[in-house]
Symmetry: C6
Subunit: 76 residues, 6 copies
Amino acid sequence: MADQWLTSLITPTPQAGFELAITLSRRGVKYAQPDVDVLHKLRPEYADSAAGLTAASQVVAINFQTIAAANGYWRG
Amino acid sequence: MADQWLTSLITPTPQAGFELAITLSRRGVKYAQPDVDVLHKLRPEYADSAAGLTAASQVVAINFQTIAAANGYWRG
Amino acid sequence: MADQWLTSLITPTPQAGFELAITLSRRGVKYAQPDVDVLHKLRPEYADSAAGLTAASQVVAINFQTIAAANGYWRG
Amino acid sequence: MADQWLTSLITPTPQAGFELAITLSRRGVKYAQPDVDVLHKLRPEYADSAAGLTAASQVVAINFQTIAAANGYWRG
Amino acid sequence: MADQWLTSLITPTPQAGFELAITLSRRGVKYAQPDVDVLHKLRPEYADSAAGLTAASQVVAINFQTIAAANGYWRG
Amino acid sequence: MADQWLTSLITPTPQAGFELAITLSRRGVKYAQPDVDVLHKLRPEYADSAAGLTAASQVVAINFQTIAAANGYWRG
């Protein structure tokens, strides 16, 4: 995974920060399982499961804490 | 998901902040599963399960940490 | 849920803060499942289960972090 | 639960802080299940289970974060 | 458990801090289950299970947050 | 595990910080299960499981919080 995908935690808006938190969460998965076909096959396991979706939302929440702090909470 | 739904983390009261934390938690789910019909079908899986509800409450608690910090804990 | 239940995170003592953390944790559940009868029916699922009680205690711990920070840890 | 059990987060040493974190974790359980007989009956469910013990240790870790911050990390 | 095992959160290096985080995580388990024979018997339950190892690593991560903050992140 | 593997939390970029977070997460596992053959055998248990991958991503997110704070969020 030699590509450059994360050069800054700073985002213009909270929503862009939330979307970056989603990117971080997915990257955390991809580093553990780089095979896109396997990831595709596993998708229903969490996307069609309440427990899986709640767990995914929790990882996003943790990453959003980091990004929000980095951006001074976009207090303006 | 092109709509603008998060322009600020600042809320007038702690309760409004808690409700924003719920919105963030739901959005974290929606980004992973945008299909509203699937989400509707999955609802009983967590809303009628003690473990599912506790997990949902935990995601809210994590997002509320972020929002409370953003608002200086509404110390006034 | 139009009632006003959270107007401040400030509490006179750490114990009152811990009890507010419990309130927040329960409210997180109630927003996801507002039907009191369902909640009542689900109670044994977590209150008579070690895993359920540990999970509940974890949500309280997360909310207590927020409230303790809000109160400057009641350092006096 | 009218007794006063938490009047301060300040402890003389990190170890006393860790032990207070354990107290908080147990209290989080007790508020959800005040019946001591039930708690006693449930004990093997987590104390004889690796998953249960790891989960318990995680709640302690979260509460210890709060107490360590309250004590300025006992930096002296 | 009258022995003194935690007199400071300060460590000379990040790696020593990480190892202290492991100690804290194990102590969190030991307070809940002091019987070393039981702990020994339970070891395969988590050490030979991906879920168990990930959960253990998560507790270490949480304790490492505390220790890293205590040490000013060993910034220099 | 006498080797020196963590001398600093400072990284040149957020992406390098994220990769260090992955290293910390794996080390947390390795301290609990140092046998590389066992780890290799367990890999499919989490890498081919949505729940396992989400849990792994969560540990990375927690460690990334620590590293991001250590680096002042690479604010420049």
